[in-house]
């Protein structure tokens, strides 16, 4: 490892064991030779070190920009009209501006994970010391931190080793963000390359964060049988005081659990979570419960179920304090990133804080010490519960009926609804006493309350829906497998070959948020379709929660029906947002463990390997956040395609291949150096699926890779054609592009396909040892 030089210079050094005076030690380079893997070409890569690779991908997968509006308003030279071939006052054109918006989103997303990691690791070091060994899977994992090894070339062994990795991440965020300044980068493809770069840093940041918490807090370690935990609106016992935690950064939730444990009150207070903090909470303590993803926040708060709310960071509604006040629920903010304007009471006595909250002297407090936050939360919740008596603001039927009668049908609500829900019609029905349409809306509702805001009559429309759907809501109780963390080396060893040869038809990573167009069940349907076909289905974040919310006739969720291992037909929840890194990690480990490629600082070669061989595809069906953008960006640079649901079109840039341009689909054959046509596999790097049916078929198609064996390819084609026929009702019109030789043809479809091949004037091609990198050619042609 060669990094920054280092000088230790001090008149006096106090250490745990000794006091040293007048030490001066100056070190130009640190070469850490405890790791015997040779250093690859790009340790601690700069913003331009992998630019050539990006340009290769972006040459094939060209950006299609989808501006929200015609102007740029990022500086006071503007606003500038960029329509037509106009340029802004700084000389920028629309393509560059849109790629800059993508870069900004990815920077915000990456900063979020990295700052989350920094906060977590600072806290863990402060509490447990810096020399705690990292351990994400015990004896089952030798290749720990594959992303970090690959990207920066470091093998972290103890908590403190993660700090310099974060230093590098922060430097990348800063440089990439700086490129978005007016008058910096001027070229759209270079902006894209920078977005890829910060996406790569994001993967590192996520890995570092999850590795730290898995190791120190002893979360499940690559455990296919991680405990089943309860999830749903109805999980909490309403007779017990209930603490609701919302966010992503688990220390304050751990503080709650630890305090309950210390006081032997675990089980006497319900601790329920929303969003990723809920994931990590149940990874820490499986008796805790999960309410659901971000879209459940208002439902839960307004229903008055929480006696106290603790928010940490990320994906927390900005109006939490206001909504909580309406139901008399005190709030504890616990993160520097989300202070909600509350007074910082970190240094006050816990007792005083509890009193102030219980007596409602303040609507909430800011407590930046997680353990104190835990103590105050528990004590205040216990004292508040009997006073609040589940006070809620869900209106009764009469009130809804009266509103229905008063509704003017002005359409403001439906025009504000991201999912165009027919609220005005439902209000008409409500006027007649029929709440069913309102209940139906709740099923496709993302809980954003924009309808409430928009209504000129100030109807609390989302609450009306909650009331209408009440019964069903209360029945919501599902089982989710808690986040298992990384994928073990053994698992990789077992499936590496079948994946690379195409015999396991693909790895489908369903990630991201709950900004669904028509409800969350679609995610479960998609997941099951792939599990049934013996793909590997990996889940995380809100998507992992949504998958739990569909039961079969026997009342079982997919987690109960399918194995939790990284194996054909497995359905795995890796965990929270930061656990997403294990998905990239698994792909990287295939190259390392199965193909024995060097990982260390060897990004380009491994990305090339993954892009050409590992049939992994990401689906972010409900992606909404800048974090989701950064995560996708990390996958893009690895050459892994990502599909988003309809709302994802608002990320404003797709990366699309052109199946009709033959010249775009050549690779080198590493054996001979020849350029070989391999067909559009994978066809796109980033696109939007309009419906769940399209998502399924698109994912099937995107699993194909140039390296597929004929056996693998024929299996992948079977799934593609079969799902195409089932969901689209017709044979796909591009099968001929995916058939290299007749062995690729699925046996059962042979006559049909042969006919197509003939019509299309198909010619046989070779199956190369595929690579996009000239330098990988072993024998020059």
């Amino acid at each position: 490892m060669v990094k920054k030089g280092l000088v230790v210079k001090a008149k006096e050094l106090k250490t745990d064991v000794a006091l040293v005076k007048n030490l001066e030690l100056s070190i130009g380079k640190i070469i850490d030779d405890t790791w015997d893997e040779p250093m690859g070409p790009t340790p601690f890569p700069s913003m331009t070190d992998l630019r050539d690779w990006d340009f290769k991908l972006l040459q094939r997968y060209k950006p299609f920009y989808l501006p929200y509006c015609d102007v740029c308003c990022l500086c006071t030279f503007g606003k500038c009209d960029l329509s037509g071939d106009k340029r802004g006052a700084c000389g920028l054109n629309m393509a560059a501006q849109q790629s800059r918006i993508v870069l900004l989103a990815c920077c915000i997303g990456a900063a979020t994970h990295i700052a989350h990691g920094r906060h977590l690791i600072d806290h863990l070091i402060e509490k447990y010391g810096r020399r705690i060994p990292l351990d994400s899977g015990g004896l089952n994992i030798d290749v720990e931190a594959p992303v970090t090894r690959l990207v920066v070339g470091v093998k972290p062994e103890t908590l403190q080793d993660l700090e310099e990795v974060l230093d590098w991440c922060e430097e990348q965020v800063t440089s990439c963000l700086s490129s978005a300044h007016t008058g910096q980068e001027g070229n759209n493809i270079d902006f894209e390359s920078k977005a890829f770069h910060v996406g790569m840093a994001d993967q590192v940041g996520m890995e570092v964060a999850d590795l730290a918490q898995i190791s120190v807090l002893n979360l499940p370690k690559a455990d296919p049988e991680a405990p089943l935990v309860e999830l749903g609106f109805g999980v909490a016992d309403v007779k017990k005081p209930t603490i609701l935690v919302i966010g992503h950064n688990v220390p304050s939730s751990v503080g709650i659990i630890d305090y309950l444990t210390k006081k032997k009150m675990l089980g006497k207070v319900e601790v329920v979570g929303i969003c990723c903090t809920a994931h990590d909470l149940t990874r820490y303590e499986p008796s805790a419960k999960i309410v659901g993803p971000i879209s459940w926040q208002l439902k839960y708060i307004r229903s008055g179920l929480a006696d106290l709310i603790v928010v940490d960071e990320q994906c927390i509604r900005a109006d939490t304090l206001e909504e909580a006040q309406k139901v008399k629920t005190p709030v504890i903010a616990s993160s520097p990133k989300n202070c909600l304007g509350l007074k910082n009471r970190t240094n006050d006595l816990a007792k005083e804080l509890v009193d102030d909250l219980v007596e409602a002297k303040v609507p909430g407090v800011l407590i930046l010490d997680p353990d104190k936050a835990g103590e105050v939360a528990v004590e205040a919740a216990i004292a508040v519960a009997p006073k609040r008596k589940r006070f809620n603001i869900i209106p009764d039927l009469e009130a809804i009926k009266a509103a229905g009668e008063a509704c003017g049908g002005c359409n403001e609500c439906i025009r504000a609804c991201p999912n165009n829900q027919p609220i005005p019609e439902a209000m008409k029905a409500a006027a007649l006493g029929d709440l069913d349409p309102l209940a139906t809306i709740l099923g496709e509702c993302v809980g954003c309350a924009r309808c409430d805001s928009a209504c000129p009559k100030d109807f609390s429309l989302h609450s009306f829906m909650i009331k209408a759907g009440e019964e069903k809501l209360w029945e919501e109780k599902f089982m989710m497998r808690s986040g298992r963390g990384s994928i073990s080396d053994v698992e990789i060893r077992n499936v590496g070959g079948p994946i690379v040869l195409g015999e396991i038809p693909g790895v489908i990573a369903i990630v991201g948020c709950s900004n669904y167009p028509e409800g969350g069940e679609a995610v479960a349907e998609i997941a099951e379709e792939f599990a049934k076909r013996r793909f590997i289905v990996v889940l995380s974040g809100c998507a992992a929660m949504s998958v739990a919310t569909v039961k079969d006739e026997e009342g079982k969720s997919l987690y109960e029906k399918y194995p939790g291992g990284f194996e054909a037909g497995g359905i795995l929840n890796v965990g929270s947002c930061v656990s997403n890194s294990h998905i990239a990690g698994a792909a990287i480990k295939i190259a390392s463990i199965f193909a024995k490629r060097n990982l260390r600082a060897n990004y380009e070669e491994i990305a090339d390997y993954i892009h050409n061989r590992v049939g992994a595809v990401g689906l972010a069906w409900g992606a909404y956040s800048q974090k989701a953008a950064a995560i996708a960006s990390g996958f893009w640079r690895l050459g892994v395609p990502v599909v988003v649901g309809p709302h994802g079109s608002k990320y404003r840039r797709m990366l699309l291949g052109r199946a009709d341009k033959k010249e775009d689909w050549y690779v080198y054959d590493a054996r001979t150096g020849d350029r070989v046509y391999v067909g559009p596999a994978p066809e796109h790097l980033f696109t939007t699926a309009e419906s769940k049916e399209e998502a399924i078929v698109m994912l099937m198609k995107l699993c194909m890779r140039p390296n597929d064996t004929t056996k693998g390819r024929s299996m992948k084609l079977t799934h593609y054609i079969d799902s195409h026929k089932r969901y689209f009702g017709v044979m796909p019109d591009d099968v001929h592009l995916f058939i290299r030789n007749k062995m690729d043809i699925p046996i059962t479809m042979k006559p049909e396909i042969l006919k197509i091949l003939e019509e299309k004037g198909w010619k046989e091609t070779r199956i190369p040892d595929p690579t996009l990198l000239k330098r990988m050619i072993r024998k020059r042609g």
């Binding site: 393509a95 404003r652 699309l656 309009e690 049916e693």
Partner: protein, 181 residues
């Protein structure tokens, strides 16, 4: 047709370049007639029954028959076309067709050259919004027409926000002006 040319989704403000409003269906018919090569992109919402009406996909088929406009069916919409006995639609991802329409060198579905007019219907409002925007900013020599029930400002021309009955009537008029039935 009394209707406001405001974006249907309130927040989807656009501009300064905004779609001209198709105040009369005759105008749309005339534009289709004038087009050298037009294409119709049909999203899956056209397979859903709108309140008080049939499925919009039937209008798509009738437009095809009346004016010979080729149809791209996005997502799983093609299944519904096939069910209705209409076999000539081409299935394509909405972004993919958008991206191709943007390219002035794309030879079209039939290999005969680029299109000059693209009509859209049945995509989710916001998705059509951004695709139309991509085409507005990055296509050359392509005009776009939104035939949805809602004003979509990034098109070159768009219907205003319409009542279902007015919308249906617009299609009827257009189709008859195009000599169809």
């Amino acid at each position: 047709m009394s209707a406001k040319p405001e974006p249907w989704q309130t927040a989807e403000i656009a501009g300064p370049k905004k779609a001209l409003v198709i105040t009369k269906p005759e105008i749309a018919a005339a534009m289709i007639k004038r087009a050298k090569r037009s294409i119709l992109v049909v999203g899956y919402l056209s397979t859903k029954t709108d309140k008080d009406t049939g499925k919009m996909i039937d209008y798509a088929i009738r437009l095809n028959k009346a004016a010979g406009i080729p149809i791209v069916a996005t997502a799983h919409t093609i299944q519904e076309f096939v069910k209705k006995g209409f076999e000539q639609a081409t299935q394509m991802n909405a972004m993919d067709i958008g991206n191709r329409l943007k390219d002035p060198t794309w030879k079209g579905l039939d290999g005969k050259g680029p299109y000059d007019v693209a009509l859209f219907m049945g995509l989710p409002y916001y998705m059509e919004f951004v695709i139309l925007s991509g085409l507005k900013h990055f296509s050359t020599n392509l005009k776009t027409i939104s035939l949805d029930r809602y004003y979509n400002p990034h098109a070159t021309w768009s219907f205003p926000n319409l009542k279902v009955e007015d919308w249906n009537q617009s299609f009827e008029t257009m189709i008859s002006k195009l000599g169809g039935n």
